[in-house]
């Protein structure tokens, strides 16, 4: 029996050689169990060693292999050829990020946004290790746990229409991370972080399309985080109106 084949288009861009990004087609044997990431590895090992893409864990936890698969942001290791076969698959770098090369995007702005929201516990007062752990009930943990599950893959920024228009927008992953710390019972830095939330590029930039939550591979639901903040931010605004500094 003849081998079943599948076509994969990859957006190629090598800044030293290419004037503009262009699609290149590769044909590989179809395998029911092969992930898109494995298909890329096959192409790199067997067909064209010059294709560049990020990857590491291949189990959807390191967040390296985000890319556009037929126009949708996906983790390459978590989607399979069978999800698309017999149709052609088109792989492109994550939307809304500048292209570094091939499927590799520039992550600098995304990383800076994560860093900007003070993503660490700011305790009310320093607690000594000798005093043991903070008491935190399962209910208290449930308030933030979901927002601590972000793997920083960037899919939500590729999905976000607001970030597409305005790169100043703090964006879904960073705002979820902010919510993760603000909702943690051990943290007392909420007021500091709410300044970021309330800023023009904070939550009010979001037009609540909700696509970020749809594409999140870890169920973080950034849209919910942002919606919760809008309620709090509105409260802050009202209080500020009646109690000007």
């Amino acid at each position: 029996m003849a081998e079943t084949l599948i076509d994969i288009d990859i957006l190629r861009y090598r800044p030293e050689e290419d004037d503009a990004p262009h699609l290149q087609t590769y044909q590989i044997p179809f395998d029911d169990e092969m992930s898109i990431l494995e298909a890329l590895q096959y192409i790199k090992d067997e067909l064209d060693s010059t294709v560049s893409f990020r990857w590491s864990c291949r189990m959807a936890i390191c967040g390296s292999c985000g890319m556009m698969v037929n126009g949708e942001p996906k983790l390459g290791c978590k989607v399979f050829l069978r999800d698309y076969f017999p149709n052609k698959i088109t792989l492109e770098p994550l939307a809304n990020f500048p292209i570094e090369r091939d499927l590799v995007v520039v992550m600098d702005d995304f990383i800076e946004k994560l860093e900007s929201i003070k993503p660490y516990i700011i305790p009310a007062q320093e607690k000594s290790i000798d005093d043991g752990e903070y008491i935190q009930t399962p209910e208290q943990m449930a308030k933030y746990k979901q927002f601590s599950m972000c793997i920083n893959c960037g899919l939500c920024y590729a999905a976000c229409p607001q970030y597409a228009l305005n790169k100043e927008f703090t964006g879904p992953a960073a705002l979820s991370l902010l919510a993760r710390y603000n909702r943690d019972s051990r943290d007392a830095g909420g007021a500091e972080r709410m300044k970021i939330v309330n800023a023009e590029e904070g939550v009010w930039g979001c037009t609540f399309v909700g696509y970020c939550s749809k594409v999140c591979p870890k169920g973080v639901d950034p849209a919910a985080a942002i919606q919760l903040f809008k309620v709090e931010s509105a409260k802050d605004y009202l209080i500020a109106m009646f109690k000007p500094d």
């Binding site: 590491s56 978590k78 570094e100 993503p119």
Partner: protein, 596 residues
């Protein structure tokens, strides 16, 4: 040539590297730290650790218990001074992570919860559901952002260390995106690059786990210690090797063969513990080396299950119920569904042993110092004497934070006591590295890199696997020598400078081959069976008289490594028979009678 001066350079930004960076920044905010990683820190392979981190918390547990479990788990090849320091600092460091926000799973009263783990007498494994490494890594990364003295070099690939005048002097980096070289002139360097599981074909490791730091130190004259001890985790998914945490068994999961029989009871781990109950150090809660060996024995007897992804046994979680699986093992459910199409709520998961962890690594003392002044090593890349011949699950995550802190403190003190050397010598040494790198990139070889990588993985599985013979190991040694020869002539088609991953793979393959060679040569000369090193060619027994020793592999450019030995540090626990299940209890009773 851009030369950046710093006090402490840390290569690798996983759990160990991040913890070390924070330790320097906290204790000496005036010292500059260069934190270097070939990926973004949160991509580091710490992220994939699932089960948890060991630290004594329960009243009926003790440091002595943790010490004894670790030393016997390591088949008495552990340095006991290191183990003592480790168990004394474990809980403190896990509590520190808690203060930094790590979402450890809790009991109803809000205190830390712990789960059972293989080879541990009392439950002492802290866990964050089944994403313990993920949460530890993100907590450490996010906390590191607080400290302005930590300057990160994300996606900077370390081409080589710089060492001269009898000490380490820095490192040469390739900025992956820019394709430019940066030279870090450092007073001290901490190596924290993780393991080398990728030398084997089937492993639980990420693609970045390529032994970089091990090989770099090795090439600079620091021996690799105990490299023959490679851990096969008993429960990986067939084909891809993705990890199904030991936490599955800690929560009560069972292993069965093709007849639905719990075969572990036939190998000194029984008697059978009723389904739905767990008994520490019995059956599925035996240590990893033993459980992986049992699989091999069952396979020989024809008791494993044939699948298109190879032979497997079944990890059955069904009796735990959907609610518990969702609470304690949600990631396992997600992974099993995605990669083998099995929902563990309804079906058993097919599993087989896959390479997971390198017990050996860069030789250090109990304080993380190598024999090259100024150079420290921490985490899986290091061999500080903690794990001996077999690591117990959940000791390595704790190792990252206990010895990460130590490495940071030690390196900081070294930096304070040291001055930078004249820059001209750094420039000259760096130029040599750059010339070599340039020559590799522009070599016009013909050998296929992926073919060499694949043949290396296969020969390691065949020769230096779960069970070993002189003949199988010699074959692997010969094959590796051939592959190293072919590596001299590899084809690199991509000559560009921006994010050239083909070139990075080529350098990594060089690191992998050196590490693999150290493993195979250390293995063939250890004529005994101990922990994860099991021979079936007349050396089936442990031989304390001749081999209660650490092996040391010394790099010899162009030749096979030279293997030497060093003493094991024994303080309170004299080598004894290593037993689990009912046999262990009998032994304990025996000892109590004698003491009584």
């Amino acid at each position: 040539m851009e030369i950046i001066k710093t006090d402490v350079a840390i290569i690798g930004a996983g759990g160990g590297g991040l913890r070390a960076a924070i330790a320097v920044a906290e204790s000496h905010p005036d010292l500059e730290v260069a934190l270097i990683s070939k990926v973004y820190p949160m991509r580091s392979h710490t992220v994939a650790a699932e089960g948890g981190a060991a630290g004594v918390v329960q009243d009926h547990d003790s440091l002595e218990n943790h010490f004894n479990d670790t030393v016997s788990g390591g088949d008495w090849l552990c340095d006991q001074n290191t183990v003592q320091y480790f168990v004394e600092n474990a809980t403190r460091q896990l509590t520190q992570l808690e203060h930094w926000g790590c979402p450890w799973s809790r009991k109803e009263d809000g205190k830390i919860n712990v789960r059972a783990f293989g080879g541990m007498k009392i439950e002492r494994t802290w866990f964050a559901a089944d994403k313990s490494g993920f949460h530890m890594l993100h907590t450490l990364f996010q906390t590191s952002i607080k400290y302005p003295s930590i300057r990160r070099f994300d996606e900077h690939f370390c081409l080589d260390l710089l060492s001269f005048d009898g000490k380490v002097q820095g490192a040469v980096l390739l900025d992956i995106a820019e394709g430019t070289t940066k030279v870090i002139q450092a007073k001290t360097v901490i190596m924290a690059t993780g393991g080398a599981g990728r030398v084997y074909s089937y492993n639980t490791n990420g693609g970045i786990v390529t032994g970089d730091g091990m090989s770099m130190c090795y090439r600079h004259g620091v021996p690799l210690r105990d490299m023959e001890f490679v851990q096969y985790h008993p429960t990986g998914l067939p084909g891809c090797g993705i990890l199904m945490t030991e936490g599955c068994r800690g929560e009560g999961g069972i292993l069965v063969n093709k007849d639905g029989y719990r075969y572990l009871q036939d190998y000194g781990l029984g008697p059978e513990v009723p389904v739905g109950q767990t008994k520490n150090k019995y059956m599925e809660l035996g240590p990893r080396d033993r459980l992986s060996q049992c699989f091999w024995q069952e396979q020989q007897k024809g008791n494993t299950i044939e699948t298109k992804r190879g032979d497997v046994v079944h990890l059955d979680l069904r009796h735990l119920g959907e609610e518990k699986i969702n609470e304690r093992l949600p990631f396992i459910r997600e992974l099993s569904k995605a990669y083998v199409g099995v929902d563990p709520v309804n079906e058993p998961i097919p599993v087989r042993p896959t390479v997971h962890y390198t017990m050996g690594g860069i030789e250090t003392d109990a304080n993380t110092a190598t024999r090259l002044p100024g150079l420290y090593a921490v985490g899986e890349c290091a061999s500080n004497g903690l794990h001996g011949a077999n690591r117990l699950g959940s000791n390595s995550l704790t190792e990252l934070v206990v010895f990460g802190e130590t490495a940071g403190q030690q390196a900081a003190q070294f930096a304070i006591d040291t001055k930078h050397v004249a820059v001209a010598k750094v420039r000259q040494a760096a130029q040599e590295v750059m010339d070599r790198t340039h020559a590799l990139l522009h070599s016009e070889g013909t050998e296929s890199m992926s073919a060499i990588r694949k043949e290396m993985g296969d020969t390691m599985e065949q020769g230096v696997g779960i069970y070993r013979t002189e003949a199988s190991m010699q074959q692997t040694i010969d094959k590796l020598a051939e592959l190293k020869q072919r590596y001299q002539n590899i084809a690199i088609k991509d000559k560009s400078s921006v994010f050239n991953t083909e070139f990075l793979y080529a350098i990594e393959l060089g690191y992998l081959l050196d590490t693999a060679e150290a493993m195979a040569h250390s293995a063939i000369l250890r004529k005994e069976s101990r922990g994860s090193h099991q021979r079936i060619d007349g050396f089936e027994k442990r031989d304390d008289e001749n081999y209660l020793k650490h092996s040391l592999a010394f790099y010899q450019a162009g030749n096979a490594p030279q293997i030497d030995y060093s003493e094991v540090v024994i303080t309170t626990s004299q080598p004894a028979e290593r037993v689990y299940g009912a046999a262990a209890e009998a032994k304990t009773d025996d000892a109590e009678v004698k003491h009584g």
